[in-house]
């Protein structure tokens, strides 16, 4: 027993001496293109909020809608991104982002009874548009495709978590809370529209 403990300790010490550099401060290397794409989505409200709103809407409609859009949205986003990789960089319009906020947020607030086809069509449109914009901004290097994969992975995970959360809510007040979040999204869209008008 004591021998095994000494062996384990010795192995631990030995491995520690041969540890590779952790490269903890990645000011020059960065986290890598995969995580760049992932973080870009999570730190871009123009992309994140409509996807979140769509997830809540599908969650309110039920598991069938969630399952269908769970794959439709990331696939469309991926297609749009790859289409954008070959295009010149495009700056997204604030007014169009505002319309997405208003549309998705308004439907969540109203608990709109969209058909399955309409939900999937909306997801495809959303994914293609935002994916194309992301793709044009990802650059033309070899790592751009990996960046896109990271970004689309984040879309998939966020949608899955948010829709699953909304689907399992049974209480009336909880569904009302989701609709309130939808009104917040729509309200933000109205303000963004005002800002877009002001900016010309």
């Amino acid at each position: 027993m004591r021998c095994r403990r000494w062996c384990r300790t010795g192995a631990f010490v030995g491995i520690s001496f041969f540890a590779l550099s952790a490269n903890a401060h990645l000011t020059s290397t960065g986290m890598g293109p995969l995580y760049d794409g992932l973080m870009h989505f999570l730190t871009s409200p123009e992309d994140l909020v409509p996807a979140l709103g769509l997830a809540l809407l599908c969650g309110l409609r039920g598991p069938r809608y969630g399952r269908a859009v769970l794959f439709a949205l990331p696939c469309a986003w991926l297609l749009g991104s790859f289409a954008g990789l070959g295009a010149a960089p495009v700056v997204g319009s604030g007014a169009v982002s505002a319309v997405w906020f208003l549309l998705v947020g308004g439907m969540v607030a109203a608990d709109a009874k969209l058909s399955l086809r309409a939900s999937v069509a909306l997801a495809v449109l959303l994914g293609l548009y935002h994916g194309f914009l992301n793709g044009t901004g990802a650059g033309r290097s070899a790592s751009a495709a990996i960046t896109v994969v990271g970004l689309v992975s984040a879309v998939f995970v966020l949608f899955a978590l948010a829709a699953a959360f909304a689907v399992q809510l049974q209480q009336h007040w909880a569904r009302i809370a989701i609709r309130v979040i939808g009104s917040w999204i729509a309200a933000s869209g109205l303000l963004l529209l005002g800002w877009a008008i002001r900016s010309g």
Binding site: S97, A109, F165, S183, A186, S188, L191, L192, W195
Partner: protein, 195 residues
């Protein structure tokens, strides 16, 4: 039910989390926080928003959820007017009047038809939203500022509704009415200062 409570607690903790302010190249982190703090830092806003929640709780369903769903949208309309520079006179009087009238409505347990209540709250929402829209600090990210103050306003409504749930008990009804009186008194103070 436990899952919902845990999720709600997690969401509340996330909303109260301090910003890491890791990358502030264009003031993004500051924009969201600035927007969130804007309604909270103005006591006139706090009073009126809590009063909306209190009144909604007094009126019961469906007002208790119609008002918090509709209010952000109408407030955002006011904010949009502020952003694009449409003149709206007497904003401070409107905000003070909102606290006075909403507080009085809670105090006397006024029960108008839902449409009347929604219109009244909507008119006041425009004044509050306009004030937020015109007071966007220079250099802030407008989208994040907007999201911040919309979320903060919704949280204040939730506080009012949470307090108002004691309305089901006799002592709770008195407490809520007393809170309405306090809001009304605060509104009178702000109206006095506005002149």
């Amino acid at each position: 039910m436990n899952d919902v409570r845990r999720s709600a607690l997690l969401a509340l903790a996330l909303l109260c989390a301090q910003s890491a302010v890791a990358h502030v190249q264009k003031g993004e982190a500051a924009g969201l926080l600035t927007g969130f703090m804007h309604p909270i830092s103005g006591f006139d806003h706090v009073l009126a928003m809590v009063a909306v929640g209190l009144w909604g709780a007094q009126l019961g369903a469906p007002a208790i959820w119609v008002l918090p769903v509709a209010f952000p949208l109408v407030m955002a309309s006011g904010g949009m007017l502020g952003f694009i520079g449409v003149p709206l006179p007497g904003v401070e009087y409107g905000i003070a009047a909102s606290a006075i009238l909403l507080g009085a409505a809670v105090l006397v347990e006024l029960r108008p038809p839902l449409v009347v209540a929604a219109v009244l709250v909507g008119v006041f929402a425009i004044f509050h939203g306009y004030a937020h829209g015109t007071e966007l600090p220079a250099g802030q990210n407008a989208l994040l500022f907007s999201m911040g103050f919309v979320v903060a306003t919704g949280c204040l409504h939730a506080v009012g509704i949470a307090i108002g749930t004691v309305h089901r008990w006799t002592w709770g009804r008195r407490l809520v009415r007393a809170a309405g009186a306090g809001v009304c008194a605060g509104g009178l103070y702000f109206m006095w200062n506005a002149f």
